[in-house]
Structures are given as C-alpha cells and as structure tokens.
C-alpha cells in the first residue's frame, strides 16, 4: 500500500479553524457557567490533531487523552453532539455521562478521550491487536502528552507493540508542560529516545507546522501499513492556555503563552497567502467554522438534560437498574 493521498492544505486549515473556534467557544461557555466540570483546551496545538487525523482513514482507530477535543473533531466527531455532550445534554455523544474528558464516537473509530494520563496507550495497542488479528489493514493511533511518557504503562505499551509488531502510531504532543511542571523536570530521556529504546522507529517534528505533521504522519502510517510494526511521532508544540480553563498560570511567564508567530493557524494562513491562495478562501475557513459552531451551540443549548434512570440502566448491557 502507498501513502494515503495528501489532504489539501486548505482542508487542514478548515479542520484547525473548526477546533480553534469550537474551543474558544467552549472557553466562553465555561466562563459563563454553561459548561460544567473542567476543560483542557488545545489552543496552539491544532496542527497536531489536524495533521495526524488527516492521515488516518475511517477504519483506523484513535485513542486520546484529557486534551482531546481537537483529536475528536479532527477524526470526524459530529460537532453538534460534541457540544451537546460537553454541555451535559441527553443527546450528547455520550448521553451526558462523560463530558469533555470522555468524548468518543464509535462510528468514526474514536475510542475516547481519557481522564487518566497514559491510559490511551495500551487501549490503542489492544485496538491495533484487533486490526492485526482481523487482518483489516487498519492502524490504531494514540495521542498523549509528554507527561504521559513518565507513566509505567508507556513502557509496557511500547514494548508490547514492538515485540508483536502491532500497527500503532504513537503520537506524543510535547507541549513542554505536564500540568504546572515543565517537561525537563519530568523526563530523564527525550521522547524519541524512549521510543527508540523499544526499537520503535521515531521521528520528532515541529508540531506547529501542520503540513510537516501531515506529511510525517502520512509517511509513518504508510510504513506501518506496508512494513508493519509501530511508529512514534513526537510533535513539538505549544500549550497556549493554562493546563485547564481558569488556571492562573503563576508557574510560567505570559510571554510563553503568546508566541503568536508559532501559531499553527497563522503559519498556514501566511503560507497559503504566499502560495497565491485567494484571501477569500482563507477567510472562509474561519467564517465557516464560526457559523458551524454558532449553529451547534444553539442546538446544544436547546438540548434536554439527561434522565437519571436511563443512565442507571446503562451500566451493563441488557440489564435493568439495580441497587
């Protein structure tokens, strides 16, 4: 098999814009008390989600982490049901039982965001095992942060994927932070060295260059499909906002949070303009995303609250609620 066709840069821009506008709206809704709980935004990291997911097909599966909005939307999760879920409504993807940290969509192979750091890795390994056993040709991908590399299950997952030559793409979004602590204080080795020590071919790229992410992901996915075995992609990126919305960020300089020349969206827009793409087309990505988000939020606001009894009945398959 050869590499999947590359996705047009303008489409990558559209995906990034959708993620950006959706998350900025979530930030507003959260501040206004319309989103309960807490949310982790991926503003500044959209190039990773858009570039990698554009290299995956509908049969490929994806596990994600607590910062998973972008991953889910880039994999094709329905925008209205995304907002319905995060606003805690009955028609949400997860019927209002999961929220921001658990967005999932079986229809597009999205195995779920995850509230447990590192937990997505073995899940992707198991999903890849299913692809291998069924000889489906599909690949399992997993997004995780630099912080997840300090979890013990990282080693078990890398090792198992490597010795069984499982079709899994490990994508480390290295944004330099694990909550309130810098990566340098968390990891003794570099992410690629950790992967390579398990005999996993690893690459490290500028994660804020969506074209570079997309090209690298396409090449690695193609290698996984043709040669077999796992691959590792480190995407160096920027966490623009706090760890969670409302994080006062006393632990870092505001400067770091405003590295606008590094913004993956701005970078691609400048590149498209330089390549002669009409300004109207570039602008339409933003306008369309805003319109779609407006409609989805309106729909989500009108959604009904979930019923308790339905939730209680769905702990097991085919069972009635019990005490």
């Amino acid at each position: 098999m050869t590499a999947a066709d590359s996705v047009a840069p303008l489409d990558l821009l559209r995906t990034m814009r959708l993620i950006r506008e959706a998350e900025l709206r979530l930030a507003q809704l959260f501040a206004d008390g319309e989103v309960p709980g807490f949310i982790h935004l991926s503003v500044g990291q959209e190039g990773v989600a858009a570039g990698v997911c554009a290299a995956l097909g509908p049969a490929d599966t994806l596990a994600s982490n607590h910062r998973g909005h972008g991953h889910a939307l880039a994999k094709g999760l329905d925008l209205e049901r995304f907002f319905l879920e995060i606003m805690g409504k009955a028609e949400g993807m997860c019927k209002g039982r999961g929220g921001s940290m658990h967005v999932a969509d079986a229809a597009v192979g999205m195995l779920g965001a995850n509230g447990i750091v590192g937990a997505g890795l073995p899940i992707a390994v198991g999903s890849a095992l299913a692809h291998q056993v069924k000889k489906s040709g599909a690949v399992a991908a997993v997004f995780f942060g630099d912080g997840a590399l300090a979890e013990g299950v990282m080693h078990e997952s890398f090792n198992l994927a490597s010795i069984w030559r499982l079709p899994v793409l490990f994508v480390c979004e290295n944004n330099g932070w694990s909550e309130f602590s810098p990566t340098a204080r968390q990891l003794a080795a570099t992410p690629t060295a950790l992967a390579e020590s398990h005999k996993i071919i690893a690459r490290s790229i500028d994660g804020n260059d969506v074209i570079a992410v997309h090209d690298a992901a396409r090449a690695l996915v193609s290698e996984i499909r043709s040669a077999g075995g796992p691959r590792f992609l480190e995407c160096r990126t920027t966490r623009v906002r706090g760890h969670f919305e409302g994080d006062p960020q006393k632990y870092r300089d505001a400067v770091d949070a405003a590295r606008s020349e590094d913004d993956p969206i701005g970078r691609l827009e400048r590149r498209l303009a330089a390549d002669g793409v009409p300004a109207a087309d570039i602008k339409s990505a933003e306008r369309d995303a805003i319109a779609r988000v407006d409609a989805a939020v309106a729909r989500a606001r009108a959604g009904a609250a979930p019923t308790f009894d339905a939730a209680l009945r769905d702990v097991y398959a085919n069972t009635e609620a019990r005490p």
Binding site: G98, A106, L111, P122, V125, G126, N159, W164
Partner: protein, 324 residues
C-alpha cells in the same frame, strides 16, 4: 458425561468458545507455549495458532489495557493474570477503563472481555500469591464477577463470561484446579447471576462460593450428624449476586451464615449480610454470622495458613451460633 479436572473444564470451555467464534483471542503471561502457569491453557496454541493465543511480556497493565482496546475494536479477548494478587497492577484498565466504557461513552461501546484471575490459598504461596480480592472488583459498577466452585460450573461460567457483552472477571480458586468432577456432554447455558442450591436443608442457610462450597458441604454433613440440616447456597456469581435465591433460602431456614475464604471485614459477606438484614429482616430468627479469613495477610507456613483459611469446623460453629 465425563470426569475431568476443574482446570481441564476451563480449558475445554476456552477451546469450545474459540472454535465457535473467531473473535475470541487469548493472551497472558505464559499462557501460549507453556500452557499456562496452572496448565489451564495447555494445547490451545497448537489448536488455534499464534495469532489468537499469545504469550505476553510481564505487563499486567498493558495486558488488561490492551484487552479493553481489543474489545472496543471487535475482538473478544480472554486474558489471564497469573495470580489475582497481580491484578493490583491492572487496576486502571479494569476500574477506570473497562468498567466505565459502556456507561461513560453513552452505550456506544460494548466490552466483551474476560479476565481470568486465580485466587486463594492452600498452596503455601504466601502473602503476595494467595489473596482473595474479589470484593474490590464486585464493588465497581460495570464489572461482573463470577467464581465457579464445581467442574460443571467452571465450564459453564467460563462460556457464559466469554459470551457476555460486558467485562467479566472469572475468579478461579487455585486449590480447585486439580479437583475432579463430572462434565456433562452437553452443558446447559448458565446465566450469570443465578445461584445453585448445593445442598437443601431446613434449619440454616450457608451462603458461599468458590472453594468454600465444598468446605460448607463438609460442615453441613457434620451438622447433619447432630440433626441440623443446613442448606448450602453456592452463589456462583458475585456481581450480580442472586439476592432472590438467598432471600428465598432465608425464608425457608430463618438463619444465615455467609462463608468465604476472603478476609471477613468489608467483604462479599458484609454486602450479603447488610442486604438480608434489610430485605430479609422479618425472616431472621438469629444473628447473621460471617465466616472469613482473619484481618491479616495470608501467611506462608503450613500451620499458619491452615489456621488462616476458614474450615468446616468454623462454618459449623457459625451455624450453631445462629441457632443458639
């Protein structure tokens, strides 16, 4: 009808399930080429091949975590954790992932996975290779927990667990693996959650499961010599457990003893006692008495372990207390 060992009955159940359904796969530490630490998976690699029967590295977190991902992606994984004590290293995958996936994702995913956990003492394996931790798992909404006590149930409950759309823990008492019993040629389907009356009786009910079934039956025989007829109810399934059968038995005998090998405090017996004290209050003519292990780690030395594990004398004494 054939006479087989408990472990062989599980082996046969695994083989029959694998023959019937290509999506059933097996993995765990030394389960393939070596045939399992207790020989339970012997021969399955040869019969079903290296794609479906796999030895894993010593990676309990990834074994169960991968089972979750595999189950979400169309397989029916049956994984083994060599000793139940080691499930402590798999707890995230079991408690935060497997147990919650159906619920948390709004019913989009079924998780047809089985985790086999050998538990229990009796082989002087010491504090880290003998524990009965099933109450931990029964406490987690989303998990099912079964514990066969007979050869026929070892087969039937293993098949039922694999056929179930939810994650099921099969707890296998190590001291039972070599026990022989009858395995009918064609097994009736067993529903998870139904108890079995191991011995009928009118004077007192002993609710038990796993290796304590035979010990409870021995206690009942001893009591019968004194004219006390104890009814022995083998739960077979701990989550869900057969509240209806236990209540019906209590309504016949009006006395209740719960016996298990696990530590008595905060155990399965506590749950059953609390429920029966609530919904069975009017039926009770005596205190509900639990028999379990003392509140200490499982000791190694023969004399210590023998004293640690509940025996027929303790169970019979407990029955006498309820009748006093």
């Amino acid at each position: 009808m054939s006479e087989v060992r408990f472990g062989q009955a599980i082996n046969r159940a695994l083989a029959d399930a694998m023959a019937a359904d290509e999506s059933v796969v097996l993995f765990g530490e030394d389960v393939a080429a070596p045939g399992g630490p207790f020989g339970v998976t012997r021969g399955l690699l040869d019969r079903f091949g290296a794609e479906r029967v796999r030895d894993t590295p010593i990676s309990e977190a990834a074994i169960v975590g991968a089972a979750v991902g595999a189950a979400m992606s169309g397989l029916k994984p049956v994984v083994e954790i060599m000793f139940m004590d080691f499930v402590t290293l798999s707890m995230d995958a079991l408690v935060n992932q497997a147990a919650k996936a159906r619920f948390m994702f709004g019913g989009q995913y079924a998780l047809p996975m089985v985790v086999r956990l050998p538990h229990g003492g009796g082989i002087n394996a010491g504090p880290q290779h003998s524990q009965c931790l099933e109450a931990w798992l029964a406490h987690v909404p989303g998990l099912k927990v079964v514990c066969p006590a007979t050869v026929a149930d070892a087969y039937a409950l293993t098949r039922a667990a694999i056929a179930d759309p939810d994650p099921v823990i099969v707890v296998e008492n190590k001291s039972l693996y070599a026990v022989k019993g009858e395995l009918p040629e064609s097994m009736p389907n067993v529903t998870i959650g139904k108890a079995d009356i191991a011995r009928p009786g009118r004077d007192a009910t002993i609710v038990t499961y796993g290796a304590m079934r035979d010990v409870s039956l021995a206690a009942a025989s001893a009591l019968a010599k004194d004219g006390i007829e104890a009814e022995v109810v083998d739960l077979r399934s701990l989550q869900p457990w057969d509240e209806t059968a236990v209540l019906a038995s209590l309504a016949r005998t009006h006395r209740l003893v719960i016996a298990h090998e696990a530590v008595e405090a905060f155990g399965i017996g506590a749950e059953i006692a609390a429920r029966m004290a609530d919904i069975g209050f009017d039926e009770l003519d005596g205190p509900i008495v639990r028999v379990g292990a003392p509140f200490m780690p499982v000791p190694f030395a023969k004399e210590l372990e023998a004293r640690y594990r509940p025996d027929a004398t303790r169970i019979a004494d407990a029955v006498r207390r309820t009748l006093a």
